[in-house]
């Protein structure tokens, strides 16, 4: 399928923005700043549109097409958000935000005890000895120790009687369990780090594929040349600034 001029122009802009934003990793420059602000502008405009679209489809449509006048309530509460621009009457906006917050928080509070606590605790009650399966038995013992240790570390943050220098039996047990929690978390964070690498590399692969694609490669080369000039210019400005500062310092010290 042949691309229209607008499509080709779009691909060139996309390639240029990609290269220019990457240039920040090497040195901040004017093309980076331009792309960054262009992105922020489009992103804010996009957010505005999508907000409007959702309100129109789920808030205004029921009133207009189904005559459901009760939907005027959320529209009024939503409009109160704009009260924040009214100076001394900015508190009006609080009614809107309290309405939204009230709904969001309530529906989370209703199910959180079951979803986040009861189910999780129930899933932690594991058989510690499984006949004929030593690996699973050890796994379960480790899991239970790590969970108890983690809960002690995060939730029950008091330290029972005794100190590191004069430990009581309770303190020793507490300390050992907390260590299990900490070591368990280290394993968790190790896995998190490894998985972060995969995600970031995947994002990078996505962009490189686009830049190396047949439609974008020409734009990529031009954008790289332009950004090299911009980075060179930024270095020159920095040196000039440095030299001027050094000159001014010499002048001050000689006077």
């Amino acid at each position: 399928m042949a691309l229209s001029y607008w499509d080709i122009f779009g691909v060139w802009i996309a390639a240029a923005i990609t290269v220019w934003l990457y240039s920040f990793a090497f040195k901040d420059n004017v093309l980076y700043k331009f792309s960054e602000h262009l992105f922020l502008g489009v992103a804010a405009g996009y957010s505005f549109t999508l907000g409007l679209d959702a309100i129109s489809r789920t808030g205004i449509t029921p009133i207009v097409t189904q005559g459901r006048v009760e939907y005027i309530v959320p529209i009024i509460f939503g409009l109160l958000f704009f009260g924040k621009y009214l100076g001394r009457y900015a508190w009006i906006a609080r009614y809107g935000s309290m309405f939204v917050l009230g709904v969001g928080l309530s529906i989370a509070v209703r199910t959180a005890p079951e979803a986040f606590i009861l189910k999780q605790v129930a899933a932690s009650i594991l058989p510690l000895y499984i006949p004929g399966d030593p690996i699973m038995s050890i796994t379960h013992i480790l899991m239970v120790l790590i969970i108890i240790g983690g809960i002690l570390y995060f939730v029950f943050t008091f330290i029972p009687g005794g100190t590191e220098q004069r430990p009581t039996t309770t303190y020793k047990v507490y300390d050992i369990l907390v260590k299990f929690g900490i070591y368990g978390m280290m394993v968790g964070f190790g896995a998190l780090f490894a998985r972060t690498v995969m995600t970031r590399v995947a994002f990078f692969i996505g962009r490189l594929r686009f830049l190396m694609g047949p439609e974008a490669i020409g734009a990529t080369v031009v954008a790289v040349i332009l950004v090299a000039i911009a980075i060179g210019y930024a270095y020159m400005q920095e040196r000039k600034g440095g030299a001027q500062a050094a000159g001014a310092q010499t002048a001050t010290s000689s006077s």
Partner: protein, 282 residues
């Protein structure tokens, strides 16, 4: 300055590390090596679960990711859709993130073969982006048609045949949450699994996976397809290797480089540290 310190300083140059990384990702992209991968028990379990779903399953698919995450999540979702479509499903797509509509159009371009087999309004529908996060998630469970009178393209949902079968939470056989953030998994666990016990399947970014692992482990989700690797495995299972499989070589090279950086960084750190300890004694 010792030789170790000199080498360490050279290798510490940020720009050098960056250029090395670009080269290591570019080489396998330009010249794929086709290094094999194994299929994990995890992805296989998800595949078997979908295989066992009844014919015409009703599935809600939450598209909750941004353009950056498409490289990791789109192949996984694409492979699952290729698998699901064989069962003639009823698919309701929705987004609780503003970038959803962009990503849905991108998904249609990514798996055109799947969407060719489905009729809009009858077999699938896209509800578009809905505001309110968890409140929208809870409202969907109570009746989609009533909550969203118009779909993403402005079509009225009232007369769409798909909603005869898939309207309320209890109608659905599965919810697939494809997300680049943790919050939406929590919303669906709280608003779809906890009150209605609808089975959830997580398709998550690699970096998100550890944080949602407890939900899978507690049985609040039937399984998880994680990142590009999980997607590549699913592509192999459905017999259509795609972009995730093609990225595996580049992933291997980049991971190899980062592992080398970590090991070298530590070797030089300890050499320099030991040299400094010995220095006053001399």
């Amino acid at each position: 300055m010792s030789a170790a310190e000199k080498i360490y300083n050279i290798l510490s140059t940020r720009q050098l590390l960056y250029v090395l990384l670009i080269i290591m990702v570019l080489i396998p992209l330009l010249h794929p090596f086709g290094i094999p991968i194994s299929i994990s028990s995890r992805v296989k379990a998800v595949y078997e679960y979908i295989e066992k779903l009844p014919d015409h399953p009703k599935v809600l698919i939450e598209i909750y990711y941004e353009p950056a995450a498409a490289t990791e999540l789109e192949p996984g979702l694409g492979a699952i859709l290729r698998h699901l479509v064989k069962k003639h499903p009823k698919l309701v797509f929705v987004s609780l993130i503003a970038t959803g509509p962009i990503m849905f159009e991108s998904l249609k371009r990514y798996v055109p073969d799947v969407f060719k087999q489905l009729k809009y309004g009858e077999d699938y529908v896209y509800l578009g982006f809905l505001t309110g996060g968890e409140a929208a998630c809870a409202s969907l469970a109570r009746g989609i048609k009533e909550f969203v009178p118009k779909d993403n393209y402005g079509n009225p949902t009232a007369n769409m045949p798909i909603f005869k079968y898939a309207d309320k939470a209890k109608d659905f056989d599965l919810v697939i949450i494809v997300s680049s953030g943790t919050d939406v998994f929590e919303w669906y666990v709280r608003q779809w699994y906890t009150p209605y016990h609808v089975p959830l399947l997580f398709v998550a970014l690699s970096v998100i996976a550890p944080s949602i692992e407890p939900f899978v482990s507690a049985g609040q989700a039937i399984g998880m397809v994680v990142g590009q690797r999980g997607a590549a495995e699913y592509e192999l299972l459905v017999g259509k290797p795609g972009s995730a499989m093609a990225a595996m070589d580049a992933q291997s090279f980049a991971h190899g480089l980062i592992i080398t950086f970590i090991i070298l960084g530590n070797i030089f750190y300890w050499i320099i540290r030991l040299q400094k300890k010995q220095a006053p004694a001399r």
